[in-house]
Amino acid sequence: MYSNKIISRKRLAKSTYEFWIENDMVSTHAKPGQFVVLRVSEKGERIPLTIAETKDTSFRIVVKAIGKSTYDLCTRSVGDVLADVVGPLGKPSEIKQYGNVLIIGGGVGIAAILPIAKALKSAGNDVTVIIGARTIDELILKDEFSFADKLVMVTDDGSSGYKGTVIDAMKEQVKIQKYDIAWAVGPAIMMKLASNVANEINLPIWVSLNSIMIDGTGMCGGCRTLVKTQEGEEIKYVCVDGPEFDGRYVDWDSFMKRLEQYREQEKLALENFIKQVGDLSWL
């Protein structure tokens, strides 16, 4: 059963959609922290997306339309078949009993931390979850974290819960409670800042890097990133050595610059796509 058929689609927020896709190779093998690489169409590029949940023969992803491929995906309907889905890929999160765990999700990163937080709770940890977005409407999946021992919801405009950024909330939270380990998944800048906070208090912090990838199997080196070691810096492949790394040692500067690598081409591809399909601001 790996039809790659979309069996459910739901709008979670503006240009943010949840899909359940039929593929039992993924659904029966995926562990928290792993991702799939998919191609929407035969001429499409291969894009990595974190697996948010699995059930029977299908798996769940949450996608925000940003470039051509994600826009293309978000306009697909139930019954449509994706050209290719491959996974689960990458190393799973290291789930065990640590004690007190702090888990931070920003934007669509909230979907990525959901299975990690659940698994850590099941492993007997005391789990604090901080989720954040710009406004309450963009604060996705907020009803699915009721299992957490503590849930802090953060919005930039204060439309729900704490007013500020997840980083502000994190700084406050680590003053209140001592944590043994943390996870932070979201935009690169958020993960960088969270890692800086963690570094100051010697808190190990897993971040999930969203590099540009092609194969996802260690074959191209396109996702490579620099990770600091005692001897200097080492090249790591996000697809097979990650996607999770201790954010305190990631070379964020070069990582973020590499995300910009195809900015011009990405712009051109999206413009062409919108010309072809018409206005997508409703998405």
């Binding site: 093998h29 996974g87 590499r258």
Partner: protein
Amino acid sequence: MAVKDRIPLPEQSPELRRKNFDEVAIGYTLELAQEEAKRCLQCKVPTCISGCPVGIDIPRFIKELVNENLEKSFRILKSYNYLPSICGRVCPQENQCEGSCLLNKLGKPVNIGALERFVADWAAANNVEENKEETERNNKISASLVNNKSNKIAIIGTGPSGLTAASELGKIGFTVHMYEALHEPGGVLVYGIPEFRLPKDVVKREISGLAKLNVEIHKNAPIGYAITVEEILENYDAIFIGVGAGTPKFMGVPGSEFNGVYSANEFLTRINLMRAYKFPEYDTPIRIGNRVVVIGGGNTAMDAARSALRLGAQVTIVYRRTEAEMPARRAEIHHAKEEGIEFQFLTNPVRYIGDERGNLIGVECIRMELGEPDESGRRRPIPVKDSNFVIQADTLVEAIGTEANRFLLSQFPDLKTNKYGYIVTNEYGQTSIPKVFAGGDIVTGSATVILAMGAGKKAAEGIVKYLENA
């Protein structure tokens, strides 16, 4: 004895081909092919066959071509080699069959590769199929000798070694399931070798023949992840691993993280597998700019350089030794030069230079000189003090080789590997786990398509022997 001149394979002119991705070689006409075929001396004791890793009866297929019995010629060819249109194009014949041709003593060898290609392409154009009896007659493993054909065999990787093993085992009547991690089968034939040397339609055509042999190909199925190693070991009677040596090495030059610095694997995969040369019709982009520098002296370096040229860049190949030591095929170097690629021999990069946005703008190089021979027998390149200079570059491709890909092997801890991470096998490809066989680059390290095919063939023999005794 006077020998007629070897008939060169017609090709696109350098001026024309440097602007397109169409195949460089145009191929023989029947007349040209026959004329070239007549140069074969039909030696009583042929030396060419032993030069072929899959042992094709070369004089026989050539003789049938001379007699205008093309169907028979094709069936002989196909009975030894399941991928003749591919091998006719990418085998290093000069070191193999043609290298051991007797005509070398009198002039130039028979153009065996071009003849193989001609016969195989002719058969495809005329819908000629292989003949099973011919295949069986020429095969070391005779199907009639195999008692239990109900065995199920898994092949991991759909590159040259896996395809060959699959065809050999499929012909006998076994159930063969191939597993490919990417979305197209073919391995290096689709992601690595460019369209202008090996059209993807040719690869597709030769692979599609496997369907007739009971071979099922499952794409998007990375073993160790989508299907566990335990599941594979449990569900199959024998397993062949042919996953290649696909992890790119980087030289460790400071600035390797700059945008525009690629491994040859990524650069070629974007262009070949993902068709980035057709962006934006295809979605996958590639950075080219005006100036491209390629580091390395092998066939992969030539492929990367010639691809960059076709995308409109001015291209320089930087190699630390001299032309004589370059491991690339002479024909590829010749083609690259004809197309206008610049070579900087005895040169090595020491630093990549980027702008404030992390984009590559140049490569600082140093001149080298050759010292004493090293363990490879080639003279060791030594940097010349104070000879540094900068080449402007928007894109840089490191084509310095690959190493064992740990993607599958990390999930397969019981499998014995050597100190370089390649799988240890006996002469029939059998590994430390009796039902698991391996062949191709994941055993030998980076080599050629035909050597991998030879290994796939040998492992198929080993698998049959193992299943007979199991």
